[in-house]
Amino acid sequence: MDYEIEEKGAPNREKVEVLGATYEAGKPDGEDDGRWRHKLASRDEKLRYLRSGERYWYGKDWYGSEKRKNPA
């Protein structure tokens, strides 16, 4: 891959070369490019994710903004 080099300047500083935005041009072509749920493979991983990622509903220690002594 060819890296883009950009020249950047700042007040009272000499101009420097920095690595610019580097990406593959074009559109994603794979249906799976945006898929993320397969990253959690085992049942245990999925349950752990639910208890952390969706912690306000499925975590035991989290109520977010709604932490209160008496449940509704």
Binding site: K27, P28, D29, E31, D33, G34, R35, W36, R37, K39, L40, R43, K46, L47, Y49, L50, S52, G53, E54, Y56, W57, Y58, Y63, G64, S65, E66, R68, P71, A72
Partner: protein, 650 residues
């Protein structure tokens, strides 16, 4: 014959096909809307036809207090409220019966009685198991799914207690629903009770009638629709970002075009698989086509777009125009928003219209009934019908060039993941950027098309105005398709259309400024996103505290009224365009537009001008920002020790 004065569409592909329809002697909804003016009495909700003594036309407009009553004595208020909540009942029934169909299939699949269907998202299955107290342990997915399916089905006919998904809502919202007596007991029960209360001589207090409408609508959004979304996710996969395309240009001249239309993805999911079957592709090639091109109309299309990237041919008002291209070999329909004119138009070309639901038969259409126990064979019969019809195409084919790229698949789960990552999934970045003002608020823009206004114009004008003012827009249904056609659902749209603050956030996260959340039952995803914002903190402790608003600028269906009502009941300011069905009673309209806020924290509004409507939403968002104390940028001061001492001495 009344002359139509409004422009028919802002979409060039649609306008081109309207011209072709005129040349071909085909009449479309646009023509019929021009020829038939709206019934003013019916549009205002002032016509009562609930008994054989009527229909009675009873207007209740201010200054006309001596207005007539219906023969039974019903006032304009009673009649407007009855008509309004019967619309809620119709919409809630449609969404919920869809949910019931999904639950039945889900249970059959879990029991191994529906070949071709399986559990594709174990994580979502486990999520519901945790939520509903279903034992997980070492049990198989099928065993867990049987329990989940039985619990889900029981939600529809439950007679007492509360529907289960209410427990997902913010705690303060749950308390409010219980205090107001609008927590639904069962999904079906609240709909049936509307039909009972609105029968002649039952509930004649509009406050009481409208309250029951709220209860049934909550049973839709937090019940039937949410069950449909969740179980579909388990069966077919929870949506994640995928590239799609939209507009009539997705039809292909040299391939078999099979268009899927309706709302229930149960059969279409199998059709997607069958269309890729080498045997079917070979058959298509043997008939002279290069392949099989699937595309969709309305919300079945949204479902298969969100999960597979199957392109959208168009939204509700493009269903007839797709046939006018002359290139559609078959259009397979399931339920809801399917025009009866389709078989008539199909006769002018060569298209086969195939109905599949026993609930939705159309004279003149070929019926191949969906049987969950034999879905694969049904799907093959449909795809084969399309292929065999390919050689019957005439020469009168004109496919518009227009098609637009879009990035879709933003379920609540995916937004949570995109904003926080796998190890700390969270809505925190969204809340932080609302608090720091880069994002002013969030708007849900949803709903249908309506030929009483310019097709797609109100959706796109409103959405552009909102994102220009740094309001992140989330969409579903035909409204999402309108915005997508304009190119608003690509990450690049942020730089072109969004305000500086919103654009900077979109660029950082890599998302479009307008997010597609799915079909119309997937408005339940919007409820989940709003709840996640509340629970993450910093923006109040109820949905009604959030700087958010909702809209359906081109609504037409009863489902839209039910959706609007559950948004309002969930605490959201919700503005509708085109027409408003209670204008025949000032009191009922005032109750919905003003008094509801004290009870539910959300209110209805009506504004047919989409720019003015957008500014009503922005004003509401600003009002909520002020109430939260985040309306002004605050200077950040780094305290030195002396300043700290001063602070401590106060």
């Amino acid at each position: 014959m009344a002359e139509r004065k409004i422009k028919k569409s802002v979409d060039k592909a649609s306008l081109d096909m309207m011209e072709k329809a005129a040349r071909d002697g085909v009449t479309t909804a646009f023509d019929r809307a021009g020829e038939m003016s709206q019934c003013a009495i019916g549009a205002a909700g002032s016509c009562c036809k609930n008994c054989g003594m009527g229909p009675c036309r009873v207007l209740g407009v201010k200054g006309e207090e001596e207005a007539a009553r219906g023969i039974c004595g019903a006032t304009a208020e009673t009649i407007a409220a009855r008509n309004f909540i019967r619309m809620v009942a119709g919409g809630a029934a449609a969404h919920s019966d869809h949910g019931r169909g999904v639950a039945e299939l889900f249970l059959a699949a879990a029991k191994g009685k529906a070949p071709g269907y399986t559990i594709r998202d174990e994580q979502k299955l486990l999520q519901l198991a945790l939520e509903w107290g279903v034992e997980i342990g070492e049990r198989s997915n099928q065993e867990i799914a049987v329990d989940i399916g039985e619990i889900a089905l029981a939600e529809f006919g439950k007679q007492e207690g509360e529907i289960r998904f209410l427990s997902r809502a913010p705690l303060k919202r749950q308390e409010l629903w219980r205090r107001e007596g609008v927590a639904p007991r069962g999904i079906d029960r609240e709909i049936v009770e509307i039909m009972h209360r609105t029968h002649i001589g039952v509930d004649q207090d509009y406050h009481s009638l409208l309250k029951q409408g709220v209860r049934a609508a909550i049973g839709d959004g937090w019940g039937g629709s949410m069950i449909a979304t969740e179980l579909q996710d388990i069966l077919f996969g929870t949506p994640a970002p995928v590239l799609g395309r939209v507009n009539l240009g997705v039809l292909k001249k040299d391939e078999v075009n099979l268009v899927i239309h309706g709302h229930e993805p149960l059969l279409s999911e199998v059709i997607v698989a069958v269309a890729q079957d080498p045997e079917m592709v070979s058959l298509a090639k043997a008939k002279g086509a290069k392949g099989i091109n699937l595309s969709g109309i309305c919300c079945t299309a949204n479902e298969i777009l969100m999960r597979h990237g199957v392109p959208l041919a168009g939204n509700f008002l493009q269903q007839e125009l797709a046939l006018v291209t002359g290139a559609v070999d078959a259009m397979v329909v399931d339920i809801q928003c399917i025009m009866q004119s389709l078989p008539d138009i199909a006769q002018c070309y060569h298209t086969k219209i195939i109905t599949t639901s026993p609930k939705a038969r159309i004279p003149g259409a070929l019926h191949i009934e969906f049987d969950e126990h034999n879905a694969l064979e049904g799907a093959k019969a449909i795809v084969r019908t399309a292929i065999e019809n390919f050689p019957n195409r005439g020469n009168n084919i004109d496919i518009p060039k227009e098609q637009t790229d879009m990035v879709v698949g933003f379920s609540h789960e995916t937004i949570n993941y995109l904003l926080g990552g796998l190890f700390r999934a969270s809505y925190r970045p969204l809340n932080d950027n609302i608090i720091n003002g880069r994002i002013r608020g969030v708007a849900g823009v949803v709903g249908c098309n309506n030929p009483r206004t310019t097709h797609d114009s109100d959706h796109t004008s409103m959405v552009k105005e909102l994102i220009k003012n740094d309001v992140l827009v989330i969409q579903t249904g035909c409204s999402a398709m309108a915005a997508a056609k304009l190119g608003l659902m690509t990450p690049e749209a942020a730089a072109k259309y969004a305000g500086e603050g919103l654009a900077s956030v979109c660029e950082t996260v890599g998302i479009p400024p307008v997010l597609h959340l799915g079909s119309c039952v997937d408005n339940s995803r919007i409820l989940m996103a709003a709840t996640a914002m509340v629970k993450d903190g910093g923006l109040g402790d109820d949905i009604s505290d959030l700087p958010v608003a909702g809209a359906a600028p081109e609504w037409m269906s009863e489902k839209a009224i039910s959706i609007g009502q559950y948004f309002v009941a969930s605490g959201v300011f919700t503005v509708f365009g085109v027409t408003w069905p209670t204008l025949g009673s000032d009191e009922v309209t005032k109750h919905l537009f003003t008094d509801f806020e004290a009870a539910y924290g959300g209110i209805w509004a009506f504004e047919p001008d989409p720019i003015k409507a957008a500014h009503l939403m922005i004003s509401h968002i600003d009002k909520k920002r002020k109430a939260l104390g985040i309306d002004k940028a605050r200077e950040r001061v780094l305290y030195d020790m002396e300043m700290r001492r001063e602070l401590e001495s106060v």
